[in-house]
């Protein structure tokens, strides 16, 4: 347990003391939110649009964008540990692989927590409040952390498989593709283009967005929340298992 804490502490300190990792992951999504919500506010005039404020609709996007930045940070950190040989030295210790990965991802979860609190504060300050009430904040932060863990796990997996930070950064556009091809800009039932609607329906990011969105717009929507947690949780579980397997392969090669 003390080993995990040590790794977790190292991971948190290492992530949070890099302003270049923390600041853009909060400022950039908020800047885009500000531009989008003003630029697309007239979209709320579309029949069937769920709210009359585009800000209220779009506030879910920064949570996902923040998680995507976290994925890149997680990948870059793990890749840097591989490049510096730190991971090889850890392989000589009796640490379990799952423990090792969890320790490595703690810093990203800390970053995810800061992001979630910042986005919630902005949402409450400039939007129309949280329809789910104060209890919704807790669920919102939990969902946000699960999403961060999911994307962070994918970033770490890519780093473990490839072993270099440049590849992690090259994969970054693919993460953004997942966001772009979702119900990010309009509700799924208002997407006109058939193939796009199909892709958005199959895309788990749509359900993560809709889970967060439901807390801001609808209130307590069990189905939306269940789907959001199920999608994020499943991806997180698969990514962590894949990370453990990749770590075993990497350690065997060491």
């Amino acid at each position: 347990m003390s080993h995990v804490l040590l790794l977790a502490q190292r991971s948190v300190v290492r992530t949070l003391r890099q302003p270049a990792m923390v600041v853009p992951s909060i400022v950039f999504p908020l800047l885009l939110l500000s531009i989008n919500s003003s630029g697309l506010d007239s979209a709320t005039l579309l029949p069937g649009f769920p709210t009359h404020s585009y800000f209220q609709f779009a506030i879910a996007i920064p949570f996902i964008q923040g998680a995507l930045f976290a994925a890149m940070s997680a990948g870059t950190n793990v890749a840097s540990d591989i490049e510096s040989g730190f991971l090889n030295r850890l392989a000589l210790t009796p640490l379990r692989r799952a423990t090792l990965m969890l320790g490595q991802l703690t810093g990203i979860l800390a970053l995810g927590l800061i992001q979630a609190l910042a986005f919630v504060a902005v949402g409450l300050s400039f939007g129309e409040g949280l329809a789910a009430g104060p209890g919704g904040v807790v669920v919102l932060v939990l969902l946000s952390l699960t999403i961060t863990l999911a994307f962070g796990g994918i970033g770490a997996f890519v780093a473990l498989r490839t072993g270099n930070g440049e590849t992690v950064q090259a994969v970054f556009p693919l993460f953004f593709a997942a966001l772009f091809l979702s119900s990010m800009a309009l509700p799924r039932d208002l997407i006109e283009i058939g193939w796009f609607q199909t892709v958005a329906t199959w895309n788990p990011v749509s359900y993560m967005l809709e889970g967060i969105r439901s807390l801001f717009i609808t209130g307590w929507d069990g189905e939306a929340l269940l789907l959001g947690f199920a999608c994020a949780g499943s991806i997180a579980a698969i990514a962590l298992v894949a990370c453990a397997a990749a770590l075993r392969t990497r350690m065997v090669r060491t």
Binding site: S34, I35, A170, A177, A185, I191, A200
Partner: protein, 252 residues
């Protein structure tokens, strides 16, 4: 001339052979186009949306400018990388006329831009882009986009040559991002609200974007003012880039 050719070829070669450089520069504008044209297509049903050629064509006007401008921005990154690695210093020792170095970077920015715009145009045509303008309109459309590419490249080169580090990246990218996105990107100007409408009213890109969208439907508006604005931007950024070159020469 030989310096321009050598610098241009080197940068184009680096761009084409490095997946970490070419893949994002081709994929990002495509993602933007697909996400906006596909995800926001219903926006053309908003009362007051009066662009006859449809949303795919409307958004293509923006993505074209964005792709072209970011071709210049990414070239600014290459300049910064060349200075950080020390290659630019050796290049400056070897070049008889150092302004040829800037010309070389401009050639590589042009190649990037033409390649990216060609890929996006093919994707857009497959997605239902309507090019209703005639030959002159299309010439105006792409000339304006390439002038924006030159503006972004010269601006980025000026910043990179002054700072001579990759840390210059955000200073090159952020102004380009802001000038592009604080324009009527997703809906016509009249449908904008809040602070973005106020920003768009003084942003020269609003004029440029309107003209681009006019070229696309064969009904160009404010052509002379748009070209005048972009030519002025290119002229000012040329002076800025020459100043950057002088700064780099002093430091070399």
């Amino acid at each position: 001339m030989s310096a321009a050719r050598a610098v241009g070829w080197r940068n184009v070669h680096n761009w084409i052979t490095n997946p970490a450089l070419i893949v994002p520069s081709l994929l990002f504008p495509m993602f933007f186009f697909v996400a906006f044209a596909g995800g926001l297509s219903r926006v053309d049903s908003i009362p007051g949306f009066d662009y006859a050629a449809g949303y795919t064509t409307f958004i293509y006007g923006f993505v074209l400018l964005q792709a072209s401008t970011f071709g210049g921005v990414f070239t600014g990154f290459s300049v910064a990388r060349d200075f950080e690695s020390g290659f630019a210093r050796r290049m400056m020792l070897g070049a008889t006329h150092r302004s040829g170095i800037i010309a070389g970077y401009w050639v590589s920015a042009l190649v990037r831009s033409v390649t990216t715009v060609s890929v996006i145009t093919v994707v857009a045509l497959l997605a239902g882009l309507e090019l209703n303008g005639g030959g002159i309109d299309l010439l105006g459309l792409y000339t304006l986009a390439l002038l924006m590419n030159a503006f972004a490249m010269l601006f980025g080169t000026g910043v990179a040559m002054r700072l001579r580090t990759m840390q210059a990246g955000p200073l090159i990218q952020t102004p380009a991002f802001l000038i592009l996105f604080l324009a009527p990107v997703w809906v016509p100007y009249d449908l904008l609200t809040g602070w973005v409408q106020a920003a768009a009213s003084v942003n020269p890109m609003t004029l440029v974007l309107d003209t681009e969208r006019g070229f696309l439907v064969g009904d160009p508006t404010k052509v002379l003012p748009a070209f005048a604005v972009v030519t002025l931007l290119v002229a000012v950024s040329l002076l800025w880039a020459r100043g950057g070159l002088r700064s780099a020469e002093r430091a070399a």
